[in-house]
Amino acid sequence: SAVISQKPSRDICQRGTSLTIQCQVDSQVTMMFWYRQQPGQSLTLIATANQGSEATYESGFVIDKFPISRPNLTFSTLTVSNMSPEDSSIYLCSVVTSGYEQYFGPGTRLTVT
């Protein structure tokens, strides 16, 4: 398994501002992902965070809105840029272990006013 922490755990932000969410893993992992869970909804994959190269974004998500960094094998950040109320969601990072199991962080609950 893997122990994943996220910062901040929650935040309330004003529209037009940006928030950077951090994800830290207790071991080196090759694959890290960022998901969004909108209120009352299921999880949607935003992007795959690749170490040493640009993130790979899913349809409907763009780098200008959700820039991602992956400086090493234990850490990643997701920035939600120029926020609007529609960005209010829980943002989760996840990692894949050597056993091909995917573990999730506790999430960052974002409210945009």
């Binding site: 694959m31 992902f33 299921s42 949607t44 989760l92 996840s94 894949v96």
Partner: protein, 113 residues
């Protein structure tokens, strides 16, 4: 392409009675299938996984699931529900490499006395 359909958005059972949460999948590849549980205001926890080994998979907390290729199903069961089982359950499919997960819409399980 891959997808999952959770056939019930809400399931209500009495404590001590069996639980059945239904999931059908679609995948162009040999899929890996998972069930995750999300308790209120808690992170996602992996219940069990199927990765082409035994078709009957046992997970944590007494849950199990059976992979039926002919029916493209992966239903989650538990012989006797406990109050602590009340949560949201997600059926998830992964396939085609890259470990990208596709989540179902979730089933809210309610356990009554």
């Amino acid at each position: 392409a891959q997808s999952v359909t959770q056939l019930d958005s809400h399931v209500s059972v009495s404590e001590g009675t069996p639980v059945l949460l239904r999931c059908n999948y679609s995948s162009s590849y040999s899929p890996s299938l998972f069930w995750y549980v999300q308790h209120p205001n808690k992170g996602l926890q992996l219940l069990l996984k199927y990765t082409s080994a035994a078709t009957l998979v046992k997970g944590i907390n007494g849950f199990e699931a059976e992979f039926k290729k002919s029916e493209t199903s992966f239903h989650l069961t538990k012989p006797s529900a406990h109050m602590s089982d009340a949560a949201e359950y997600f059926c998830v499919v992964s396939g085609g490499g890259g470990n990208k997960l596709t989540f179902g819409t979730g089933t809210q399980l309610k356990v009554e006395l």
